[in-house]
Amino acid sequence: MKDFILKRMAAIILPFICVYGFYVILHGHVSPGGSFAGGIIVGLSLIAYSTIYGIAKGRAKLPEKVLVWTESYGTLWYGLMGMVGIVKGVPFLANKLAGVNLGNPGTLSSGGLISLIGFGVGIRVASTMVTLFFTMMEE
C-alpha cells in the first residue's frame, strides 16, 4: 500500500497495540481478558503491520523459522509447566499442590504457574495468528 497517512498512523499506533496486547496477556489473572485475547491482539498488530507495509516486510520482521520455533516451543512450554507437578511428585499440571508460591493476589507475580503458562499461551496464539495469515496470503 502506498498510503502515506496510513503508514505514519500505523507506525504510531501499532507499537501501542502490540504493547497493549502484552499487557492483556500478562494481566490475564488479575483482570478480564487473558492470554488468548492478548495473544490475538499481539498477533493482529503484526498482521496489520504486514498488510500496511507489505507481506515481504512483515516476513522480514518475523522469519518463518522464528514463527515455527515460537509455535512449537510455546506449546511445549505449556507441557513443561505441567511437568513441574510431576517432577515434584504431584499430578500433572498441578499448581498450588506443587508448592509453587502463589504470591500476593492481585499483583502481576501472583498465581504461580498460571501467569507463566498464560504468557506462553499468549506468545503461541500470536504466532499462530501470524502464521495463519502469512500462509494464506502468500500462497
Binding site: V68, E71, S72, Y73, L76, G79, I86, F92, N95
Partner: protein, 504 residues
Amino acid sequence: MTATIIPDLPVFVVIAPLFVAFVLPTFARRMRLVEALVILVGILGFLGALYLASLVFAQKGSPLIYSLGGWQAPWGIELKAGNLGALFLLVVTGVSLPVSLFAKGNLAQEVGGKERSARFYVLYLLLGGALAGMAVTNDLFNVFVLVEVVTLSCCGLVSARNHPRAAEAAFKYLIMATLGSTLVMGGIGFIYMITGHLNMEFAARELASIWQHSPHVVWMALSFILVGFGVKAAVFPLHVWLPDAHSTAPSPASAILSGLAVKGYLICLLKFLYNVFGSALMQEFAVDRILVLAGAVAIIAGSILALSQDELKRRLAYSTVAQVGYIVLGLGLLNRQGLAGTLFYLASHAVIKSTLFLAAGAIIAATGKKKVSELSGIGRKMPLTMAAFTIGSLGLIGLPLFSGFVGKWYLLLGSIETGKPLPTVVVIAGSILCATYLLPVIRRAYFEPAPDTTNADWQDPQDPGFSQKLALILLAAIVVLLGVVPGPLLELAKRAAAELLLLQ
C-alpha cells in the same frame, strides 16, 4: 525413577506423543531423526499401554484414577484408566506403531516432500495422543476438546495429499465433522444444564435422579450426541463424507482414520451412553433399539455399497461403514456377552482394517493401479503384501483362528441372548456380504494371470521395503494372534463390559 512414573502413567501415554509432536516442526528437514522419534515414541507408548493394562488387569475392578492438577473429581478433570481405557489404549498404540513403521517407507513420495511428511508426522502424533486421551478421559468437556483435536488432525491428514480432490474431501469431512462436534457440544451443554456436572460419574449420578423432571431435555441431549457421534463415526446415512476422505488420504492416514479415529469416536459414544446415561436410561429412551436398527441398516447398506465399488480403497472405506454398523449394533445389545464382543470386535477391526489399507496402499504405490479389476496376478508379484491382505480379509470375514471370529462369536452370543432375530440375521448376512466384496480381490490377485509384462507402463511391481514389510507382518501377526490366543484382551473386554453394564 519407576516409582515416580507409574502413578503418572495414564497421563504419560497421552502426553508423550504430544510432546514429541510439539518439537518435530523445528527439525522438519532431518527426516531420519523425525522418523526415529516417531517410532521411538510409538514403542514407548505401546510399552506404557501394555504396562498400564497389566496394572489394570492385576487390580481387578478398581480403575486407576488420576486427578489432573490434584483437583478432585467434580472440580478438576479426571482421567480414568479402567478396563475400557486400557483396552482402547492397547488398540491405539498397538496399531499406530506398525502404521508409523509403514509410513517410514514411502511417505515422502506419497505426500510430496520432506517438510510435508514431517508435518504429516506431527498431525499423526497429535491424532495418536488425542486418541489415547479419549481412552482415559472421564470428563464430558474434555471429550469434546479431544474430539476436536482428532477431527482437525484427521482432516489435516486427508489434505496432506497434495491434490485438489484431497482438499475437497477434507473440506467435506471438516464441515460434516464440525457439524457433528457442534451437536456433541450441544449435547454436553444440555447435560451440563440439567446436572451441573462435567465429570461423567457425577453427571450420571445426578442424571439418574432427575431425568424424570426433564425427559425432553434428556431426549434432546441423547439425540444430539447420537447424531453428532453418528456423523463422526460414519453411521450409515451419515457416512457420506467417509468414502471420499478415507480413499483419498495417503495410505498410512487411511489406515489410521479407518482403524482408529472412527473407533475413538465410537469409544466416546460408548462412554456417553453407558457412563453418563447408563443402560437403564438407554432402555427407557429406546436407544438400544435405535442402535440395533441403525447398526443393522449400516451393515447391510455399507456392504452393498462396498460391493459396487471398483476402486480398492473406496471398497475398503465402504467396508468400514459396514463394520462400524457391527459396533453400533453391538452397543445396542445391552448384555455382557454382546458388549464384550463389540469391544473385541472394535479392537480386531482396528487391526484388520489397518492391515487392509496398508496392503492396498503398498499395492497402489507399487503398481499405480487403484482398481480391483486391474489387480490381476498381483499376488504373485507381491506375495507378502497380498498375504497380509488375505489374512486381513479372512479376519474381516470372520473365519475361525482369525481375530474377527472371536468378536463375531461373542456378538452372536449377545444377539441370541436378546431373543430377537434381527441382530443375529444381520451379523450373519454381513459376514457373507463381506466375503462377497473381499474375496474377488483375492481371487483376482492370485488366480488370474498377470497382464503382459512387455507392456511399457506395467513395470514389475515388488513387495515394498523392509520397514513396510515389517509393518504388514506385524499387523497380520496380530490378526492371527488375537484369533488364536484372544485370552487377555478378551478378558479385558469382558471386564469392561461388566463394568459398563454395572454388573459384578
